[in-house]
Symmetry: D2
């Protein structure tokens, strides 16, 4: 039946206790969890949202991971990129199907793959990293996600060697994004969008300052909080813990004016 799980499909399995497991279906395999093991053959042929039972009688439900979920499960050395920040980058830069984007450092590929998913078809993500160690692993995901036409992994330094031009968006996820501002200016089309994501406040300050003296408007700088709620009728409240910090985001826009330090951009509607 259309849409049922088949060999080689990715599975997101969520147990009744709320734990999440992620694996690729192979016939005759068993997937071991803290709540017993799950039989691949009992999953093959089922539709999404079905209940399955572990060897110890624990209930679970099977789904296909969304693009965002599958990226959260990628092995990585560097810090996770959060859905709130990924979504914001799309909304604030205006990128979409057909957009041409330069991005780097590639790292584990999460951001590059997410962007590639959203600029297909017809768009392109040029993802740079000075270290191509993860490229083979990322290529496998590119294949699995059917993104071969959309993403190009390139060994190189965003602050030196960018080859493309007239791109719509340039996203820097590197330790010193202020050093990428000049190559971004050259690579972007007029009116193109620059975004940097940085963990520390000193990086925010340096990047924002560099933008203003390098031909960009500093469009918006800030940070996002996601605050989860736990709803139970009569006892509803926010969760006790939340993420206090992921990254600061700086967004610039390419102008024909060299120095915009004296332009006092107000916070636009939608950001205040």
């Amino acid at each position: 039946m259309l849409g049922t799980f088949q060999e080689n499909d990715q599975v997101l399995l969520i147990t009744q206790k709320g734990n999440r497991y992620f694996f690729t279906l192979r016939t005759k395999r068993r997937y071991h969890t803290n709540e017993g093991s799950f039989d691949a053959d009992a999953i093959i042929g089922k539709i999404e949202g079905s209940e399955v039972i572990s060897s110890t009688g624990q209930k679970a439900v099977i789904f296909r991971p969304t693009i965002t979920e599958s990226l959260l499960f990628l092995p990585r050395k560097t810090q996770i990129t959060y859905p709130k920040d990924l979504g914001f980058l799309i909304a604030v830069t205006g990128l979409g199907p057909g957009s041409r984007v330069i991005e780097g450092g590639t790292g584990s590929g999460v951001l590059a793959l997410f962007l590639a998913w959203h600029v297909r078809p017809g768009g392109k993500v040029y993802s740079y990293d000075i270290d191509d160690e993860f490229f083979p692993a990322i290529h496998r995901h590119v294949e699995n996600l059917g993104l071969s036409d959309v993403i190009e992994l390139k060994k190189g330094d965003l602050s030196i060697s960018v080859e493309e031009n007239n791109v719509d968006v340039f996203i820097a996820d590197v330790p010193e994004p202020w050093k990428t501002v000049e190559s971004a200016y050259n690579a972007l089309r007029p009116g193109g969008m620059y975004a940097a994501i940085v963990p520390t406040i000193e990086q925010l300050i340096k990047t924002s300052t560099a933008l203003k003296t390098s031909g960009f408007f500093e469009y918006i700088s800030g940070e996002l909080f996601f605050r989860p709620w736990r709803v139970k009728e009569g006892m509803s409240r926010p969760h006790h813990k939340m993420r206090a910090h992921t990254v600061f985001i700086i967004v610039g826009r390419k102008t024909m004016i060299k120095d915009t330090t004296l332009w006092s951009l107000k916070l636009p509607d939608g950001y205040r």
Copy 2:
């Protein structure tokens, strides 16, 4: 020259004082602002990011609005939808090019147009509203944005009359989203995503509760804050004011289990 402003283009004009104006270019027109008037003919032929001067000598820069910016300028009766929330809906539901989405109430069309922009080509947004008063105005924007193939405006009540099925995502932006949960269940494909955006906490509680007894996992419930920063070297700080609240977002996922009240989903990675 490729990419220069032409008649009928949309213009986002930002003055040196930081005010933003939005208009459609018509030859021989002047655009009046608090900082003097701007001459259409001086804009036509210019590239994005160029500086223009008002009748009173004020400087400004001209851009094409991004999709998100153009939606923020749509006339509307209802409250603005914020970029942070729009982006989050994309990231959390996993929708992208090719996705089929039911959405409503249409209202001013902001959410429908944003979603349509991101599911093109090949995807579809079926946008329902019980009141078709704004449909003609929205149709003009659909034309301008080249989204005619992607969006379908339908007069009808999300909680009663949904005609599509096997859709990937169902988004309710209506006063009583808990009443749409049953029709959403019928319209969604197995594993499909439901999202509601609501201003009040009582709506959050009712919708979350309805999901759990109607075949959905309550995947995630919460709210986003955007906190803007004002960077000046040596004097950097957050802005003084921020938005304390836009909407609560509730995300559910269709399962084959009728009642998920006893399933205690943990906050997944990326949301905690």
Copy 3:
């Protein structure tokens, strides 16, 4: 020497790894921690802020706990009350030395002791609980803190049996604070302040609603977030995790008007 540690003093010991231990000094004792044991006799005679060394060579510094710190270390069944919320209650109600306060449920006594510390001398805290199980333990802390004249523990139900009147402040930390609104009205002096602290949003809504129909202005309702920062030059950022929620706080003020539902109080300066 004046101010040196003596037998029976309370000690807050902080190790170089950042762990905190709290104990009462007894001669010839050793205090065991994960970082080795500390010798009481090596602490006695030292001044605050001095370095001491554990049996395994780990460094630590010794302090006297502040009132707030000593309360955080009280054994308790119920949830901790946070410094941010304790301080806010003082600031928003205007209580200080000399104030007469009714408070309950006593619980572990944290709030009662904190308030007593701040209304001494001359003030009084009448702390009610329907269960006097913890009263003996609290009495010991009352003695240690020298608060015997200031605090009175009373077995009784805040919503029924309040005996005092003309008090300045009434603070309800009970599961159903809306049931205390009437007895609070009777106990408070004209213009007196009512405050409730509640974990759930339903309690916030019920209490706020009860206040407005029982002779109170709803002065302010809201919640506080504390966001910690981790400063290292060149790598400064907020901590990764924070508390997403402790309590909602509702503050009312006694008026001579029965129903204030139609009075639309604006957020005062200092709260917006």
Copy 4:
């Protein structure tokens, strides 16, 4: 009757539309507001919480301002200090009746008066400012609040000329608090608390860094948000706007260790 309004009393008048007015009662005066004028003689003799009517028929209620409210109405050149921050300073430093505190810059006196109110009787606030321009105005408030024995205004520079020693708490509300760290160390008793409140992140970083190399533990650094809620049954939600930023707060504690850079203090309970 005891507690009724008399000539020279301070009045906080809140209208039904929610506006707040603050004045000192003088017989035969009228107080003019946007909602008509109020007659002093109609207020004299009334108790707190009573309703009064303006010349145009608008209703209002009269209160005595709390200490916190009266400080918010002080004329000032500098930025308001928020109740959330005032309360936090009390809770985190552990100051209370009897404490000896050095504070500065005095500015409009808000912080000094608030602290004085809470250390009386027996305590003392030494408030320093390099500019004594506001001292006469502040002295009047000191008289009105009966704080003459508790507060001492001193012309001088916190970073140079502090005369007191063995104080319990030292609070710096000055542009360069890192320059006060050394004089604070000399003025504080062992184990004494240092706190700085600063608007910018660069000040936070410099002050935190200075503390760690000057004999202090950096106890806690962070910021507080107050998020107001607007409760109406069935339509409850946070207010739309909130304060995004007031100040960063840095709290240190005096040790006998010169350099604490290598001590990695964890966030204590109550702050995480």
